[in-house]
């Protein structure tokens, strides 16, 4: 052994990201074809991307309103990241799975998840309330980066089963510093698991800017260290994001293993409604970022291509408004949780755990009822 050959059998240079992020749409909507990143979408699908982004923007704004009205305790907006989320999720098939962090309303919309149900976590009615198995959309994961391992494990399972599905883990630029995504990429590389690690690099982890998060040239450069290709795209360009993700997804589905995608974008809102970004970044930076609005750009493209006229535009806005209303209603009409439910879901079989504690709570509830009726 000693001075022997390297461990892998691929040419490492093929795993490095391109010098420039993949970019297909100019700010004015002009499309540049890139033979390496074809956009294999028909007109309806191209319109659907727009629809998802507009609905996402609308429900995101509505969620902010709900928080201001005291209906939600907190909310984490994805304003500005619509293209990254929608473009990424649109590259998946129905059977594929998404493992989100806590900011993935755009991915949820793309998957068809009930947006109202997604808000119960923020409202506190329950810790979450959609069925992950319905749209193959896992629960929000709040501990940073932890879901990357679930996505990797799920993909390993699919691989063991010869089931041609792909999983996608969303996480942020900050998350790349945690141990879990590192371990997830290590496992995925070794087992050639069909998982795509999708980093939304929105430049900030709460108040910490990217250059205090890592010294890496780009986050996509991390991929080679796990023997997987690293991709780098303009995350405010929905077509670039879609095309890059699609390539990685197809490759994973074919059995060639995982990939890491870095989508460059910007968190235009505060970290959450509890945050005050004026303490750590300038208005000027925010205004600059606002100029790269992913929806504006894509709308210009659709108009140029003759795919979007005023009628259709209105129709999409109406759809978005309807979805926002449905979401608002779900939240307003959500019944208060039943305190006794606290014991219901901890175990499938809770023999021996809660007999006495159930009794304590039941007594307290009875006393409250007594006070109320008294």
């Amino acid at each position: 052994m000693g001075a022997s050959q390297p461990a892998g059998d691929v040419d490492p240079s093929t795993l490095l990201p391109p010098a420039e992020p993949v970019h297909l749409l100019d700010p004015d909507g002009t499309y540049h074809e890139d033979p390496d990143h074809p956009v294999d979408l028909d007109d309806d699908q191209l319109r659907m991307l727009y629809r998802h982004m507009v609905v996402t923007r609308k429900v995101d704004r509505e969620a902010i309103n709900l928080q201001r009205q005291g209906q939600l305790g907190v909310y984490a907006s994805l304003l500005g990241q619509e293209a990254a989320q929608v473009g990424g999720a649109f590259a998946l098939s129905e059977e594929d799975w998404v493992f989100p962090s806590y900011r993935e309303m755009g991915a949820a919309v793309t998957r068809g998840v009930d947006t109202g149900k997604m808000l119960h976590l923020f409202r506190g009615t329950w810790l979450s309330d959609h069925d992950p198995y319905e749209h193959h959309f896992a629960l929000y994961s709040i501990p940073i980066g932890t879901q990357a391992l679930h996505a990797a494990g799920f993909a390993m399972g699919a691989k063991f089963d010869d089931n041609p599905i792909v999983t996608m883990a969303y996480f942020g630029d900050g998350a790349t510093s945690e141990g879990d995504p590192h371990e997830a990429m290590t496992f995925a590389g070794v087992f050639k698991a069909p998982v795509v690690f999708f980093v939304q690099n929105n430049q900030w982890a709460i108040s910490v800017p990217l250059d205090q998060q890592t010294a890496a040239p780009t986050l996509a450069h991390k991929a080679v260290g796990y023997g997987m290709p690293g991709h780098h795209c303009d995350g405010n360009d929905v077509l670039a994001t879609y095309a890059v993700t699609r390539k990685a997804v197809d490759r994973a589905r074919s059995g060639a293993g995982p990939a890491l995608i870095e989508a460059l974008t910007y968190r235009m809102e505060a970290h959450t409604t509890s945050d005050d970004p004026s303490r750590y970044r300038t208005r000027q930076e925010e205004e600059e970022a606002a100029k790269t609005d992913p929806i504006v750009r894509y709308k210009l493209f659709l108009e140029k291509e003759g795919l979007l006229d005023a009628d259709l535009g209105e129709q999409v806005e109406a759809e978005a408004a309807a979805e926002a209303t449905r979401m608002r209603d779900e939240i307003y009409e959500a019944p208060h949780g039943d305190p006794m439910e606290l014991f219901e879901h901890v175990y499938v079989d809770d023999t021996g755990h809660f007999e006495r504690q159930r009794e304590v709570l039941a007594t307290e509830l009875a006393a409250r009822d007594g006070e109320v009726s008294a």
Binding site: G153, E183, H345, H353
Partner: protein, 323 residues
């Protein structure tokens, strides 16, 4: 047949894998090597590398991917190589493995079994002899059990794998070579039940895992002193079978709880808290504890002074009898 505890557990995993092809077994060095204690010996040969596999050296990765595999539909059996090396996975244990089902309102179940060789007494270097059961037993959403007999090595392994909840099986590594008869099928009490291993009248001694054998030896030795000890095998640390303990305490009026784990906030604290409440009028003496000290686990040459042994148990028994 006469088998060691390690063999009984091996057989338990084997039979579970044979009965259900959704059962997977993985961890560090569990494949070709068969585990550093050979508990998984021959399993990879029998079931192939897709069902029994070595992972990269990353415990959070092991538990985190186990969660993903369980969500997919497998029944993972994961090994942490030693007690002291499960800590890197602590976040996946507490924030996800324990809480995912509750978080999902029951929609996501995680039938994951985690096997952890635990405890001291084998003269090992640091981090290889710890008793971290408090960390798991205090964590709502996990079940925590520890076999103290060869038969339970088999039966609890099967029951843990069959359970739809995440179960931590703390395997008493110093007893891996303990031999006993194993007749299949084994019929034992349910996973969450404590069992009276030896009836007695003067003092109840509660133990589990590695200390069960020590408690039984103490009961033998006590006989010579004319004391009749009732030995209860706790078996499950979460949940704790309060009723069986209370019933025994009502018979004897005195109780000594034994474990290797450090004393403060160890399982004996919880048992004492429950007993003094639920059997207040039956207490002839306070519940006493024969445990490890509140120090890090000692170097090999000092472990005999740190670990509870027959003498320490009998000192507490005598103290209880003196009330």
């Amino acid at each position: 047949m006469t088998v060691t505890l390690a063999q009984a557990i091996n057989r338990g995993i084997h039979d579970a894998m044979e009965a259900d092809d959704r059962v997977l077994m993985f961890g560090e060095d569990v494949g070709k090597l068969g585990g550093v204690f050979r508990v998984t010996d021959t399993l990879q040969e029998t079931f192939g590398t897709d069902r029994v596999y070595d992972t990269p050296l990353a415990e959070s990765g092991i538990i985190g991917t186990a969660i993903g595999l369980a969500m997919y539909g497998f029944r993972p059996v994961a090994e942490m190589q030693f007690d002291g090396f499960a800590y890197p996975a602590f976040e996946q244990f507490t924030s996800h493995l324990a809480k995912m089902r509750n978080r999902s309102r029951g929609r996501v179940k995680l039938p994951v079994t985690v096997r952890i060789p635990f405890g001291g007494g084998i003269g090992a270097v640091e981090h290889h002899s710890e008793s971290p059961e408090t960390y798991w037993a205090h964590t709502a959403g996990l079940k925590v059990v520890s076999p103290g007999t060869v038969a339970d090595g088999y039966a609890m392994t099967r029951a843990a794998i069959a359970a739809d909840d995440p179960v931590i099986v703390l395997e008493p590594k110093r007893r891996y070579w303990m031999k006993d008869d194993l007749e299949l099928p084994v019929t034992t009490e349910p996973l969450h039940k404590a069992v009276v291993r030896r009836p007695g009248t003067d003092v109840t001694v509660v133990a589990y895992g590695p200390m069960l054998k020590t408690a039984m030896e103490a009961a033998d030795a006590a006989e010579e002193e004319g004391w009749s000890l009732e030995v209860v095998d706790l078996r499950s640390l979460s949940p704790i079978d309060t009723d069986t303990l209370v019933a025994s305490l009502q018979r004897t009026g005195r109780m000594v709880v034994v474990h290797e784990a450090a004393q403060s906030l160890g399982p004996a604290a919880e048992i004492a808290a429950r007993m003094q409440q639920e059997a207040f009028y039956h207490l002839e003496a306070p519940i006493l504890r024969a445990t490890g000290y509140d120090t890090p686990y000692p170097p090999a040459m000092l472990e005999e002074f740190w670990l509870p042994d027959v003498d320490r148990i009998l000192d507490r028994v005598e103290e209880a009898l003196d009330y």
